[in-house]
């Protein structure tokens, strides 16, 4: 039950800058996800908050207390590690009670909390076992349980699901979300998996090379990526990018990629016309490229001629790997499509969902 603030936080190891001038305000009871490729500084940011790494510059504030020099145990946090970090020589019960015992919590309270958490997590029958007698999913639950019983102000989770198989991961995702709703506590969650980030976070912070790229709700991040990196990172398969120029012709604003030309819709014209003549990057998500025969309603289509290179049938949808001029791109189309390898098709690009980025700064043109 606390907010968390990163105020100009920097972490350096010698000459290497792991986290560069990070400014984030995390609200009370929020579920914030740090996401980014490996080495982007997301784990380091979390570990600084936990007190496991020292802050080189800037302040970290939990609630209204600056915690830079506060030892981990006094920060009122609990952390779930990727490897679970269970104490191998203790039973599940002792693992969960360890932190409370060190804090001299009364025995009855400890017992009550441990049993309640175990019941919530469905691990009551495992309390007397040692970690090595548990499956991966059970160990993960114990690790979560150990954090819950502490009743901390902030939960920190460092890729807690990446050691689980795909099915367990989906279950554990739901479990953690339920916990967040029930406990009404601030959760800070680190992952490299954008699906986890999108499904769990109330807000997502995208990091790259130690620099915060964008922080926003999942929907806004998806709809309005601030730069090429965020556009490409969020969404699967990722956004298609085309080098292009903005040209003006007969009062129309056009995006010219060399292989095809798309008209800019009326709504974006005012903003984008300022960039006329400049080199830009056009971004469009695979789901905004449709099979011409199955264009859903509410789409503002524009035809682009392309040749089908590869088709991937997913059951509920089909991925088409397409070639137009010297551009390759992916479309995510209706499963009824008749597209076959080698076919020439006139793909329908949804003009309402074009993303334009400056070719030099890679920032979105808005």
């Amino acid at each position: 039950m606390a907010s968390v603030t990163y105020d100009h936080v920097t972490k350096r190891w010698g000459d290497v800058v792991a986290v560069n001038d990070l400014n984030i305000e995390i609200y009370d009871k929020e579920f914030l996800v740090f996401v980014g490729p490996s080495g982007c500084g997301k784990s380091t940011s979390l570990r600084m908050l936990a007190g496991l790494e020292e802050v080189s510059d800037g302040d970290i504030i939990i609630g209204d207390r600056r915690v830079n020099d506060v030892p981990p145990k006094d920060r009122d946090i609990a952390m779930v590690f990727q490897s679970y970090a269970l104490y191998p020589h203790m039973t599940v019960y002792d693992n969960m009670a360890f932190g409370l015992r060190l804090r001299k919590t009364p025995k009855d309270t400890i017992d009550g909390r441990v049993r309640e958490a175990a019941r919530d997590l469905g691990i009551e029958h495992l309390l007397e076992r040692k970690p090595k007698a548990l499956s991966g999913g059970q160990r993960q639950r114990v690790a979560v349980g150990r954090a819950i019983v502490r009743e901390p102000a902030v939960f920190l989770m460092d890729e807690p699901l990446s050691n689980l198989d795909a099915k367990l991961r989906v279950e554990a995702r739901a479990l953690i979300q339920r916990l967040h709703q029930r406990l009404e506590t601030t959760f800070i969650y680190v992952t490299h998996d954008q699906v986890e980030a999108m499904t769990m976070g109330s807000r997502i912070a995208v990091l790259r090379d130690g620099i915060l790229q964008q922080i926003d709700t999942p929907q806004n991040l998806y709809d309005y990526p601030l730069n090429v990196f965020v556009g490409g990172f969020i969404g699967s398969p990722s956004m298609n990018f085309f080098d292009a120029t903005l040209v003006s012709q007969d009062g129309e604003l056009l995006v010219d990629t060399g292989a095809f030309i798309l008209p800019v819709p009326q709504a974006k014209k005012d903003v984008w016309s300022q960039e006329t003549g400049r080199r830009i990057v056009l971004g469009i998500r695979p789901e905004d490229i449709h099979d011409p025969e199955y264009v859903p309603p509410g789409v503002n289509p524009s035809p682009v001629e392309a040749v089908v290179d590869v088709t991937e049938l997913m059951g509920n949808e089909v991925f088409l790997y397409l070639k137009s001029g010297n551009h390759d791109f992916i479309a995510r189309v209706d499963p009824r499509t008749s597209a076959a390898v080698g076919n020439s098709m006139s793909m329908a690009f949804n003009l309402d969902n074009l993303h334009l980025f400056d070719a030099e700064t890679e920032r979105a043109i808005r």
């Binding site: 936990a50 496991l52 030892p71 990727q82 490897s83 970090a85 191998p88 360890f98 090595k132």
Partner: protein, 303 residues
């Protein structure tokens, strides 16, 4: 393939594993024969001594130890008299107690200190840590004989010559570098997350050490206990130099070497004496050997 019914498939699979087992057997057999051969020739002399130690002095002088196997159940040829003699008349009993009095503290003290030091070197941050660790490990190359004369001078000044405390301290000093090195390597390899998790859970360094590191390091501590115990128990040099051979302080190794001088002809006593000195190391080794192979860390991390 799809026409195979389940029972046929089972047969096919079991044949496959039988063949694999046979191949494995063939591959392993030369190794096993070699091992058995080595164990045999290594054990044979000791076994001969062991048998001799239960025979009478006359029998040892007149026939080989293997002759007892002509009729092993003729109990008249076996006797415990050698052991009774060596323990009482030759003061091996007192020497045995003295050895215990030297060995147990000289094992416990260095391991206790080394475990604390190893934890600090592995998991606590303080200036000069790596340099200090380097110096401690560097001491491994100093031959202990080099330290005798300066140490004897110091001991004479402070009156430690010929005392148990003196020999404990000597063994502690000589054992520490290796102990710190071995335990450090083990403790440093414990998963970082466990220690970090403990620090978030509220454990101080001391709690982390006593509640996590010590129980998790039992295999390494047991392994080093065996080394140190055997080394101190079998040591003659350090004991001779710092403890001497006074009647109240003689240990088994000193006593045995004296006996070789004074009773070199009396095989029956020497063999029994040798086994009195060997019995405890054997017990310690077999008692702790499972820690060499036991994987206590299983289940702590990952799946």
């Amino acid at each position: 393939m799809s026409t195979l019914n389940p029972s046929q498939r089972t047969v096919a699979e079991s044949e496959g594993t039988a063949a694999a087992n046979f191949r494995r057997f063939l591959r392993r057999t030369p190794v096993q024969i070699t091992l058995i051969f080595l164990v045999f020739i290594w054990t044979l002399p000791t076994f001969g001594l062991f048998v001799s130690s239960f025979r009478s002095a006359d029998a040892i002088q007149t026939s080989g130890w293997w002759t007892v196997f002509a009729n092993p159940f003729d109990f008249t040829q076996w006797s415990l008299q050698n052991y009774v003699d060596v323990i009482t008349a030759d003061a091996m009993g007192t020497a045995f107690l003295n050895s215990l009095l030297v060995t147990i503290p000289a094992t416990v003290i260095p391991i206790t200190i080394a475990a604390f030091a190893a934890y600090a070197f592995a998991w606590m941050k303080f200036p000069g840590r790596d340099l200090m660790f380097g110096i401690v490990v560097g001491l491994l190359v100093v031959p202990l004989q080099m330290a005798f004369i300066p140490m004897l001078r110091v001991y004479r000044e402070i009156g430690l010559n010929g005392t148990f405390l003196g020999v404990w301290l000597a063994h502690t000093g000589f054992g520490l570098p290796l102990a710190v090195f071995l335990l450090h390597n083990y403790i440093a390899s414990l998963p970082r997350e466990i220690i970090e998790s403990a620090s978030i859970d509220g454990a101080s360094h001391f709690t982390t050490f006593t509640r996590l590191i010590l129980p998790l390091s039992v295999p390494a501590i047991a392994a080093f206990t065996i080394f140190q115990f055997l080394w101190v128990w079998n040591d003659l040099l350090v004991a001779l130099v710092f403890l001497g051979t006074g009647p109240d302080v003689t240990i088994v190794t000193s006593r045995l070497s004296e006996m070789v001088g004074s009773r070199g002809q009396d095989w029956h006593v020497l063999t029994a004496g040798a086994f009195v000195t060997m019995i405890l190391p054997l017990v310690v080794f077999f008692g702790l050997q499972r820690y060499f192979v036991r994987g206590l860390m299983a289940g702590s991390v990952k799946g």
